[in-house]
Symmetry: C2
Subunit: 603 residues, 2 copies
């Protein structure tokens, strides 16, 4: 029946200029209303909705068909476009017209739905994931996928315009467990051997630089078999780029251009360039984070020296053991008036408010949060009585606190532990004070990362970015003697407290790469077995090079104002890495496993 | 040292207008020539080559550095652009100028290469694959990757312009073994369960149609764990698209537009539209192939009836057992003059020529090839004496053969076996006669495929395209009674004898899908376990829909004039699915396997 028919327009096309035209529409029956004299069918597709009318007196069969329509059935409508006249709906692009139906054909009927197709539904996420095809019919989710496609297109157009070449790299790769766990793919042809899915195309894009490709990019699928935190996915997409003869500044310029193009193209927002640069050390000291939210100030102050001799053991102990005491000033947060109401600028923060912040601090590694309400004389707070007048004066001078302010302090034997915890408190305070304005776009670069961080579990340095990151040349000499002192030529780009991506200049000399592998505790044999191809490639005229990878899912999430990357991925998995729609992963035939030379071990 | 410097130009940029400019170039030392008084260094990058000169008398240290340069070292050159004057090289875009070096810095030296970087090398493919980064520096291969990026961009731009939405579908999918073998990915979180890598995004793009996405596309990575024939890869890329409310004609129009855009954008060739349509049956009968090369005629003729009563058992036997005798006329192939020379139009084909064709026929399933040289009276060939005058006359009438022609015949108890074999002979003859002109682009659609083909091994019908293909509505009734008679709403697009892609209108009704699963011998339980989500989706307002997938690797190969898809893939695998560069697949740590609840079985 439907063999040869075509729609003449989508459900978002028709305007008042089309009145009088004979049209064929196809779409979903979003709703049917019976206004006695007339039936109204709202037809929906990806492009919009169009109102269809049927006059029961003139076409009783047609009216019966429309009246019986199951919601979300797929329908073909033939009819004439007419002006709605006085009943125009200015909120709808097609609101000036309606289609008087001459023919209605049900192309496919629908069962009753598990949840309605509405902008907002209260169905459980497990239900919505199982019926993802219904959830995706909801306008907010459908719009997210449209925005994702647009963002990806803008990114490609920008990189194309800058001479980058999109090059596909393999998904069936070699397992080089480093950092996260690999997903493995057993080989049938090579018994006992495995491919791994790429955690990123890092080594291959470096090889492409050795191959002379000069500027590479890829919208690359990457995989990590990690225990998923709330908003991670086992597979994710990154905009991955690499440039030969790059400097950090060059990579940053290109990236800024890309992000500016995205924010302009999707949101119509003009982002100022260049983005501010903050060295890692400063970001940690001022914001307790390597991805600071710069939409607001409330910078942390280190007050270790001020409180080193404090009679309050928490402070002096932290100072003695080489740690730090850090302070955050909440302007007006300790105003003398007020009771139990929610905190805010110029409002007293209640005990409950401060308790909530204490929880934030302890959840983020602190042993506690010290609060002080600054007064001319009698400071309030459990620790107030331990502070000498000199200490109070020095604290005020250092933090700029004035009477009526609230001071929040964290002390720890490890300085960065104190900073990270108070950085989290800073975000909570900023949130509470309404300073994290979603309409502001505070991009920044964090630079000068350390090359290594100490891996407690492994008892040795671990790469902070990855082992292919180039050390800062003047720090090369510390690779063996004091690796934690070595800075990397690495940089992250952050927005409003979220890391959008990171990159670095890479090592292009075999000897340096080998020294870094050694610093990471990789034996010569292991390094050769895993990365021999890269080490060898570096000997055949590898150019200096560098690049960056941006998290596409997260960027699109921010562009969409979505709360989770699951809302910008067509078919996301749950936190247990399962697809509720297709029921995967699933068991497979014994024959399939036998062909792969594998046996499942019973736990 | 290289921290802050940037090149001012690439090696392909400089022109005579740049003379006098101070420039910084970076690239690979392609060659150094010492002309006594002057040294010439050819610097190469992705964009071109630039000649650099050094005057040893003026800069002896510089000259020494350049003289010692190892080939393919990475070099920075600072100097001044000068006119080559009388020595201009019109074959090079930069041939009007050269750069007089003031400074040369070796950024990275190169070891001696396993093979030279030249347009044509005779290194073994295993060596070239191991050092893929060197092979990719060769201009022909580098150009292929540039063409691939261009072709992919053109495809995206075209589909974007047609309202298609690029949507990413998961790589970690569900195993639904059907057709080819799946690559499996063991789940760590769900012991004994596996994901599968997609053989195509088929079911998911159908679900996206149910989700109302209307027009979807994806440049999609697909995976098949098959024993690789010469030019297959375990992972490959397809341009995958799907449309709601589609008719075959609509999908074909979009596809033609896409291919026309590709051939115009990459080759500057205007392809005529619409492409000719050939029903599958006719393609088999006329060309012995479902992907006919239409650059030349030489169509096959069925002569079963003519030779049914032949005293030559090969002919009459085939006719008796319900098979066919098919004939191919080679005009002038049996000209009475000539000896052992190579065959050609108007030339006698030697015994050796015909033997070669016989091998082609038997390699393609025939039991032999009968040749007849047509004469007014005494036809030549081993079977000639069995043919009556009437039979000769009827053969001439049917095939249009005239004296001097060569007739090639295949007879078989299965008609299509005879046709496929003679179809292969037809291609060999066309090749020999120079009729397969690479400058011609004979696109065509093959339509009206059978829904099923008989699977000898399984003893039941198998899907000719895939089980989601819609039967032709008027054939639905034969699904149970005579499945092999059911035609599919499927279509392939072919070019010059190569299948570029295929598609179909899909089943959008649960009951029809279930009947097709049943016809394929899939039990209700198996169908539910594997495709339950799709069956269910079809009940919630699935629109009629259809689509197509094009093999990107093969299309780019044809656009590049390459001989293998390995030449248009950055990092291809061998026929044993191994990557010789990274040495994958490889063994993994026992701990990795233990985490995946797996054990390798000893063979």
């Amino acid at each position: 029946m439907e063999t040869d028919i075509r729609r003449t327009h989508t459900c978002g096309d028709l305007r008042v200029e089309d009145c009088g035209r004979d049209v064929t529409l196809m779409g979903w029956a979003a709703s049917v209303r019976d206004h006695g004299g007339r039936l109204f069918l709202v037809l929906r597709d990806r492009y919009g909705v169009t109102q269809v009318t049927v006059a029961p007196d003139r076409a009783p069969d047609l009216a019966a068909c429309v009246r019986d329509l199951k919601a979300e059935s797929v329908v073909l409508v033939r009819g004439t476009v007419v002006d709605r006249g006085a009943n125009r709906n200015p909120r709808l692009p097609t609101g000036d017209i309606e289609v008087e139906a001459r023919e209605v054909v049900v192309l496919n009927s629908s069962k009753p739905l598990p949840f309605p197709i509405a902008d907002s539904v209260d169905a459980l996420e497990v239900t919505r994931l199982k019926y993802r095809y219904l959830d995706l019919r909801r306008a907010p989710l459908a719009r997210n996928l449209v925005t994702r496609a647009l963002a990806t297109r803008i990114a490609r157009e920008y990189l194309d315009s800058q001479g980058f070449l999109e090059i596909e790299t393999p998904i069936l790769l070699k397992s080089t467990p480093e950092g996260a766990r690999d997903f493995l793919v057993p080989s049938r042809v090579h018994p006992g051997s495995f491919y791994a899915l790429p955690q990123s195309p890092q080594t291959l894009k470096q090889v492409l630089m050795v191959a002379g490709m000069d500027r590479y990019y890829q919208v690359a699928r990457c995989f990590r078999d990690e225990d998923l935190r709330a908003d991670r996915q086992p597979e994710f997409t990154q905009i991955d780029l690499e440039m030969s003869f790059a400097t950090p500044e060059l990579v940053q310029e290109v990236t800024e251009g890309l992000l500016v193009a995205l924010w302009r193209g999707v949101l119509g927002v003009e982002v100022a360039r260049p983005f501010p640069r903050i060295p890692y050390r400063e970001a940690m000291e001022r914001y307790g984070s390597d991805r600071p939210d710069l939409r607001f100030g409330l910078a942390l102050e280190t007050v270790t020296d001020v409180l080193a001799g404090s009679s309050f053991q928490v402070f002096s102990g932290a100072a003695r053991s080489g740690g730090a005491v850090v302070a955050l000033r909440v302007p007006g947060g300790g105003a003398p008036v007020g009771g139990g109401q929610a905190g805010g600028a110029g409002q007293d923060w209640s005990r409950k408010d401060v308790d909530a912040l204490t929880t934030v601090a302890t959840d983020n590694g602190a042993r506690g949060l010290v609060w002080l309400k600054v007064r001319e004389d009698d400071w309030q707070g459990p620790a107030a009585k331990f502070l000498s007048a000199e200490e109070r004066g020095a604290l005020r001078a250092r933090t700029g606190a004035v009477p009526g302010d609230l001071l929040l302090l964290v002390a720890d034997g490890r300085a960065d532990t104190a900073r990270v915890a108070l950085g989290a408190v800073r975000l909570a305070v900023g949130e509470r004070l309404g300073l994290r304005d979603p309409g502001r776009h505070a991009f920044a670069w964090v630079t000068d990362f350390p090359m290594f961080e100490w891996d407690e579990a492994g008892g040795r340095p671990a790469a902070m970015h990855h082992p292919f990151t180039s050390p800062v040349p003047e720090d090369l000499d510390f690779l063996e003697s004091d690796p934690l002192r070595v800075r990397a030529r690495a940089y992250d780009v952050v927005l409003n407290g979220v890391e959008l991506g990171g990159g670095s200049i890479r090592i292009h000399r075999r000897d340096v790469q080998q020294r870094v592998f050694r610093a990471l505790g990789l034996s010569e044999d292991t390094a050769q077995a895993r990365f021999g191809f890269l080490l060898e490639a570096l000997e055949y005229g590898a150019p200096p090079h560098g690049g960056l990878a941006l998290g596409l899912d997260r960027i699109v999430m921010l562009l969409c104002g979505a709360r989770s990357i699951r809302e910008v991925i067509a078919f996301p998995k749950t936190t247990s890495a399962a697809c509720l729609m297709t029921q995967s992963p699933s068991e497979v035939d014994a024959a399939q496993l036998a062909e792969l030379h594998l046996e499942v071990r019973n736990p």
